[in-house]
Subunit: 353 residues, 2 copies
Amino acid sequence: MAIEERVRELAGEVEAADAAAAEKARARHLELTKPPGSLGRLEEAGVRLSGISGACPPPVPERPAVVICAGDHGVLARGVSPWPQEVTALMVRNFCEEGAAANALARTAGARVSVLDVGVAGELPGHPRLRGAKVRSGTDDLSARPAMTREEASRAVMAGAGIAEELVESGEVDLLVTGDMGIGNTTPAACLISAFTGRPPSEVTGRGTGIDDETYELKVRVIEEALRLHEPDPEDPLGVLAAVGGLEHAALAGLVLMGAACRVPVVLDGVSSGAAALVARALAPDAPDYAFAGHLSAEPGAAAALEELGLEPLLDLRMRLGEGTGALLAVPVLQSAARVLGEMATFEDVGIG
Amino acid sequence: MAIEERVRELAGEVEAADAAAAEKARARHLELTKPPGSLGRLEEAGVRLSGISGACPPPVPERPAVVICAGDHGVLARGVSPWPQEVTALMVRNFCEEGAAANALARTAGARVSVLDVGVAGELPGHPRLRGAKVRSGTDDLSARPAMTREEASRAVMAGAGIAEELVESGEVDLLVTGDMGIGNTTPAACLISAFTGRPPSEVTGRGTGIDDETYELKVRVIEEALRLHEPDPEDPLGVLAAVGGLEHAALAGLVLMGAACRVPVVLDGVSSGAAALVARALAPDAPDYAFAGHLSAEPGAAAALEELGLEPLLDLRMRLGEGTGALLAVPVLQSAARVLGEMATFEDVGIG
């Protein structure tokens, strides 16, 4: 139980964002040289960044890092994805060697890329960009038995929290971007989203990397079976994770919690990140105060998760890759939102009004 | 007629984008380490960048410049905006002194900021960031007489083209962002959009920087009057510009044309840029091949213009400021789209499939 206790301790450190700083930002927006409200959602984002940092203007988050949490999934044996399990490990190597989409997009965002192996099947060769924190070699088949134990889920949460803490405490990172890699991981993501939103699997299940109608129907059926088998209780988030989650979802929940505890903005990517954020919120109700929805993934579960979290996505480019790609594209939007509050002249400065 | 001839000559230099290079990019996307289509609109953007540059992968546009074209409007005397005309000149100074929203957002995008005075009322003090190319001190009241002469419209088009050419030929700029400043300029923008799309003024008129119901109704009425008075002929784009346009819209049309002639991507901002792009398309039907819709402005005319141009906006942050702000936010999306094609590993590279 010690490790579960650590998760609860971390969750207990999450406090609501600073409403007074957010209010200052709202007032500041009215003084800047632009018609009130004319920067739309950029203004909202600036207000939220002020609440997160407790300062108006908020610091410009210029040192982003994407953490790609990777794991494998026993449920893949049910045939829910056309991709073989080995692809997870191959993609981890691709991230390390900077050949993946996340690496290309991280370059534009000026983000460092870290990969956290929290549950990839088999051994991975070491690499400076790869953090080894394997809790187990992939989960069990969640449609037949719990994906993992509560202790394993808790350890994965703390692994994600650990890397987030280290990055933030190094002083070299001031914004966290969630990324995920795991062949088959939209199945546990849909289970988690269904469990926490109460929506039926058919509403929150998507085609992941691209599956045909037959596989899609199978996938929905597998998710329905899993939920019937475990009857996950949303009041017990670690129990839900253990029953129907993935190790990378657990790690991402930890990353969201630690970002919130450290008062650092966390930009969520797609459906796996949304599922993880629901776990984080169930553990710490104020955690979403620190989260931004980077984009609206084309996976239907993503929209359901974000609606439940009360987060409106910043971008919608019909992406569905994961890896943090959609969230990385939103980083300049947040940087711009902070710059508006910190760098614009006021009407008084320029002699208008 | 010499100057009109120069506009036509420039328009004649615009050729369609390179379909073969675009096709290569489509094929390349299928080989990269991601499920086909999973990067959504980022893939489309990469295909278009390949067509524009005639190369796959396309160069990453790392040296953007926003050109803020500024002018004043005689129609302001009708009371279509609550802001006084002097604000145009004050905002030009604000751009020069780097205190405006466009400056803050340009910093995130790594974009240089140039201001083109093509028609601000009164004299402006010189500044290194300000290009003086004043055609006249604001337009006439377009609801009573032509806003300007055909020659003036043509000179303003060539002023915008001139600064675009100079920036591109300097080798320091490889992507152009359109920006506008002009108190009252959503009125001529709506006139232009109505003239080129055939939609009634009530459908394409918005509240600009924020006006009350009474002013809004007056604005629609003024636009209806102007269109009835001039009956602008969309087959004669310089005539439309002269009758119901603005000097900054003319300059922006020239910028769009020159970007297309130089095969450089042009990122359009909001309703004034959309109106200008319609003028450019009427002069050179292939000009939109080189344009990206940076965002969907909250002004209803913007959506109408983009639909007519066949351009889908990249972002929608409910912004309505102008100055190039919405387009600047889209620059990293285009940089990312180019990087995907140029920097990602293929499935073969990493041993998948």
